[in-house]
């Protein structure tokens, strides 16, 4: 059984942006402050898979900023260009911070060591030696990833409920024979009292 990565770039139904709207937004972009967003300084590329289904894998472009030395918050897009869809987010914490989490909470998080060492996680456009310095730190961190838009399913809009994502933690998980992979604890989310969503 092979893993499948068929991320499609969603074609969102809708009219192209009207000129008036575009001009207006040029004005707002110039006048307003973008405080928290200006802290985003880094682009990291990696792969995530769904916590309940390792065969579904998604390319994830992270745009990250530090809140302090031990904490990064990242916006995740399906593509790194100006047409990228915002599909999720990730929080990245140092091991020290991770260890302060209650056990119940730890289940939402994954380690980064393998991803970094295997080269699956990298910083596009940055020379090797410089990347290495930062990635050495990232290797010791833990991440919590939530995706809101199942682009690999071909959804052209962000439908359904959020998905907890996991990252590669050993050889053979990316596009290879998945039969030997350990069972990941599935975290299925459902909206109690409103609807229950079929995640398959």
């Amino acid at each position: 059984m092979e893993g499948v990565n068929v991320s499609t770039h969603p074609e969102i139904p809708g009219e192209p942006t009207q000129t008036g709207t575009a001009l207006l937004e040029k004005a707002t972009a110039t006048i307003q402050g973008f405080g928290p967003v200006n802290k985003i300084h880094q682009h990291l590329c990696a792969f995530h898979f769904y916590g309940h289904d390792m065969t579904r894998q998604v390319e994830a472009h992270h745009f990250c900023g530090h809140l302090n030395e031990e904490f990064r918050q990242c916006l995740i897009y399906d593509r790194p260009d100006d047409d990228g869809r915002l599909i999720g987010l990730e929080y990245i914490v140092s091991e020290q911070l991770f260890l302060t989490l209650p056990d119940e909470e730890k289940k939402f998080w994954h380690s980064h060591e393998f991803e970094v060492k295997s080269g699956v996680l990298f910083m596009p456009g940055v020379p090797g030696p410089i990347q290495r310095q930062d990635l050495e730190k990232v290797a010791k961190t833990y991440g919590k990833v939530i995706h809101f838009w199942q682009v690999d399913k071909g959804d052209n809009l962000p439908l359904g409920i959020p998905q907890v994502m996991m990252a590669l933690t050993r050889d053979g998980q990316l596009h290879e024979n998945l039969a030997k992979a350990p069972q990941q604890q599935a975290l299925i989310m459902h909206m109690a009292g409103i609807i229950s969503y079929d995640n398959t």
Partner: protein
């Protein structure tokens, strides 16, 4: 019992905890920034400040800062933060679609969305620093949209790190549990030196959408219903206090005052002369010392004792 709630930050405690950025990290960041294009981020072109409510507990209301990217005339995607400066915590993501797109969604999906008409017309939704005139055409457009907002970090309850599963958020509305606490609005207005009331009058001309899909704002149809019979274990109650989460929503107070034709404010001035107790035992009003933690009664099953012990 372990819960997923945060331990709650003490006043002045850092959210998130962690060492300050090292010089080395600053340099790495700067290096990356110079080499990488960060295109999607540069494509954000609006800052919107508004309010949102937790759908599972509409008394929890937050000021939000949306950094918006328009994808096409019918779709926008927003990164949401809890403040507009560089210390802002990334608390979630909101998607905004036109009414045209919304009508194509299956009913079960529509239940996760909220309307924007009230929020915009009442001026809870503003673009800080932009003259109202400039942004007006955009508001007219957005008044007809629907939003879907997931909150992934509940900093309003003091979570030091993002805990638990995402929470679905709802938009402010004009009545019932959808009304935003005016104290929150005033605080926001003061920060930007604006007046929501004044803006609201100006926005009277913004056309109401002809129809608001009733699947959106799901709580309106399926909430605000009292328990018809006394249900569940008892809930421990607390008394109103003067600060923090102990403050009663002025809307509730006004409603009561109107009923009895009294004015709490006037009475408050008169009661200034009532002596304060010399000491209030800190064990009472437990939540004040323990940062807004309440008590919930839980019920667990246990073995019944079937025999009386021998006297």
């Amino acid at each position: 019992m372990a819960t997923i709630n945060g331990t709650g930050a003490q006043a002045g405690e850092q959210i998130p905890p962690g060492k300050p950025m090292s010089m080395e990290q600053h340099m790495l960041d700067k290096g990356a920034q110079m080499l990488q294009s960060l295109m999607p981020i540069k494509h954000m072109n609006q800052h919107v400040c508004t309010f949102a409510l937790y759908s599972h507990d509409m008394t929890r209301q937050i000021e939000t800062h949306h950094y918006v990217t328009r994808v096409n005339q019918d779709f926008l995607q927003c990164a949401v933060y809890d403040t507009d400066d560089s210390t802002g915590h990334l608390i979630g993501v909101e998607y905004i679609v036109s009414d045209r797109i919304f009508e194509t969604l299956p009913p079960d999906e529509q239940k996760l969305w909220h309307t924007h008409a009230y929020e915009i017309k009442s001026s809870l939704w503003v673009n800080p620093r932009v003259p109202e005139m400039v942004v007006r055409p955009e508001l007219e457009n957005l008044a007809k949209t629907y939003g879907k907002f997931w909150c992934t970090w509940q900093t309003d309850r003091g979570d030091k790190l993002p805990m638990g599963p995402p929470a679905l958020m709802m938009s402010p509305q004009g009545a019932g549990i959808g009304v935003v606490n005016p104290v929150l609005v005033q605080k926001r207005d003061n920060k930007y030196n604006i007046s929501s009331d004044a803006l609201k009058s100006a926005r009277v001309e913004i056309a109401e959408p002809e129809w608001l899909n009733p699947q959106a704002d799901y709580w309106k149809q399926h909430h605000d219903k009292g328990d018809k019979l006394p249900m569940g274990p008892p809930a421990l109650m607390m008394s109103p206090q003067g600060a923090g989460i102990g403050v009663v929503n002025p809307v509730l107070v006004q409603k009561r005052d109107d009923k009895y034709n009294i004015s709490s404010d006037a009475l408050k001035s008169a009661r200034v002369e009532i002596a304060e107790p010399e000491w209030l035992n800190p064990q009472a009003d437990y939540w004040k010392q323990h940062h807004d933690k309440g008590f919930a009664v839980e019920v667990e099953t246990t073995e019944m004792k079937k025999r009386a012990s021998f006297p």
